[in-house]
């Protein structure tokens, strides 16, 4: 036999309203009412479920008669549509909360990115991330990560130079969590560096690890470095938050940065081939050369900007 949704819904409300009566007795009552509706429709073909249920009365009212006959306390009845009323209130409430959340998020994180080249300042996600290039300071939320020159942190210093055997090593890695890296071209075949960073004393050295030359800054936090790299040696710079300056590079450079700014100052007379990707932010115009011997400048930035510091 096909299920009658209207009848089932009525019986469901009736069953719930009979809550004080034991389950077995409730089942008997519900079955008898169902039997009555079917009998009425069978005897009168014109009768509908709706008309028979209307003659019976609201399920809560019928339930109350059962309760009162047994000396039990009747339930409070309300006109039909109670469930629909609460469903509507719940839906509208949830929808309103979602709208409010979206509005707050948009308001809080707008503008997505703001670049102040004059003051060397990049603001991301409505000020959530603030990169101050001049001061070498990065603030995420309320946490200030970088104060490179401050004495309150356990700041370590490292400086030195190391000759690179370009027959063995084609690149050096410069990994950091947050900070400011200035890359220049060395006048000889050595890497020269002068760094400050939060990390154990004695770290911050250029070391060979598994056939790769890389700087080891310990925690990699608050790194501020001036690094000179020999011509023809590629620099792989990889950071989370910060600023990277490329001053007239004469070797390939690849920069991967999550949040921050990269400034590029091309060298006169040197051909560069650019491959620049910024997911959210700004990229300045650069003249990319098709010369196969051109220096490769590759950048992948999630949030931030690439600026052209060409003095011409």
């Amino acid at each position: 036999m096909a299920t009658d949704p209207q009848l089932e819904s009525y019986l469901s409300v009736l069953d719930k309203s009979l809550g004080q009566i034991p389950v077995s007795a409730r089942a008997e009552i519900v079955t008898e009412i169902k039997s009555h509706v079917m009998e009425a429709k069978e005897r009168d073909p014109k009768a509908t479920t709706d008309s028979v249920l209307k003659a019976l009365g609201e399920p809560e009212t019928v339930a109350n008669r059962y309760l009162m006959e047994r000396g039990l306390k009747p339930i409070k009845t309300s006109r039909g549509g109670t469930i629909m009323k609460w469903l509507t209130i719940g839906f509208l409430g949830t929808f309103g909360l979602i709208c409010l959340t979206v509005i707050i998020v948009i308001w809080r994180f707008t503008p997505l990115i703001s670049v102040d080249e004059k003051n060397d300042h990049v603001t991301l996600l409505g000020g959530m991330i603030d990169v101050n290039g001049k001061e070498g300071r990065i603030r995420i939320g309320n946490q200030d990560f970088s104060d490179f020159d401050g004495d309150s942190r356990k700041t370590s210093k490292s400086s030195g130079h190391q000759t690179i055997d370009n027959a063995r090593f084609k690149s050096i890695r410069i990994p950091f969590a947050n900070g400011k890296i200035n890359l220049q071209t060395s006048k000889d075949s050595s890497v020269h560096w002068e760094c400050k960073f939060d990390g154990p004393h004695g770290s911050g050295q250029l070391m060979e690890k598994a056939g790769i030359m890389a700087f080891d800054f310990g925690s990699r936090a608050n790194v501020k470095c001036n690094i000179q790299v020999p011509k023809k040696i590629k620099s792989d710079v990889e950071g989370t938050n910060g600023k990277v300056s490329l001053e007239q590079p004469e070797g390939d450079v690849e920069v991967k940065l999550t949040n921050g700014k990269v400034s590029m100052q091309p060298s006169n007379g040197v051909h560069y081939h650019y491959d620049l990707h910024v997911q959210r932010g700004l990229v300045a115009d650069f003249k990319s050369s098709d010369d196969p011997k051109a220096i490769q400048i590759k950048m992948d930035i999630v949030n931030g900007a690439v600026t052209n510091e060409d003095s011409e």
Binding site: H36, E39, Y66, E69
Partner: protein, 115 residues
């Protein structure tokens, strides 16, 4: 209708309805809800389904009636047949005696005969 009269009619009908309901069940040996509604209607004692079924349920709980589910001809829906229990038969006899006493009182009071 006058509210007082309506209230009085509701009260007197409740006891009267219960008596007639038991009499009908006794007369037909067993009856199910829908049949009872029809037969009460024929007696010009109409009762709403929402009133009758709770009453039958209570009388079954009190062991005045006993109920039995049955499906006729192996098709259609099950029907709940009500019949009098032994207790119910005794109760009905007492109810009939009581009602006859009331009728006698009424007749005496109504005839104008001196008491």
């Amino acid at each position: 209708m006058d509210a007082y009269l309506e209230n009085w009619r509701t009260q007197i009908k409740k006891g009267y309805l219960e008596l007639c309901l038991l009499l009908l069940i006794q007369k037909h040996k067993r009856l199910y809800g829908f049949d009872l509604i029809e037969k009460l209607k024929e007696l010009e004692l109409p009762v709403k389904e929402g009133t009758l079924y709770p009453m039958l349920s209570r009388m079954t709980e009190e062991k005045t009636l006993q109920a039995e589910w049955e499906t006729e001809n192996l098709k259609g829906h099950p029907r709940k047949f009500y019949s009098l229990t032994k207790t119910g038969v005794k109760q009905l006899d007492e109810m009939k005696d009581e009602f006859e006493k009331l009728m006698a009182i009424f007749k005496t009071a109504h005839s104008g005969r001196s008491l």
